[in-house]
Subunit: 103 residues, 2 copies
């Protein structure tokens, strides 16, 4: 998955002692995405804006806040997260990669 | 440090079990850069093309292959690496971030 005509921001975001690392890009229309890599483990993120999370590599198990069910998403699949909510994302082995689009 | 009008490649490069993670961008002129994050530790990289490494956050101690001396580079500083050579880069604490330009 490539994004053309974007502005790339060199300094990345580092979460959970580097277990999750992402780089932000700004699209032509001013909207933002982050491209991230998740090492094995379980991590909880809060949302402010609503998000679409596209899995681009590996496999992630996701539990949305307020849900008792988890779903597994593989490369090429995506899930949405409501604004002012959150989700737990787990990677069992290897690494999971994603593109997060702020909706 | 921002790069405009680039193509961003969503799937990142993962080295040393995720201790080093980078995302590649392609510039308007077709040249490539990677934007990376280094967790604490010591890592050796081989070069094929010559590289310019700009440190964008944190502090890295660098030893070029064939050199007995190390130098410390902080955000805003850079070093060059010859083609078909290599270097050892160490981060003591926090994280080090870089932009690697292929020359």
């Amino acid at each position: 998955m490539d994004f053309n005509n974007v502005t790339a921001h060199a300094v990345g975001n580092v979460y959970f002692d580097g277990k999750v690392v992402s780089h932000k890009i700004t699209m032509e229309d001013g909207s933002a995405k982050t491209m991230g890599v998740i090492q094995p483990g379980s991590y909880h993120f809060d949302t402010v804006a609503a998000e679409r999370m596209d899995i681009t590599a590996g496999e992630c198990k996701v539990t949305l806040d307020g849900s008792k069910e988890s779903s597994v998403y593989k490369a090429g699949e995506y899930f949405n997260v409501d604004a002012n909510s959150g989700f737990t994302i787990e990677v069992a082995e290897g690494n999971g990669q994603y593109v997060c689009s702020y909706l």
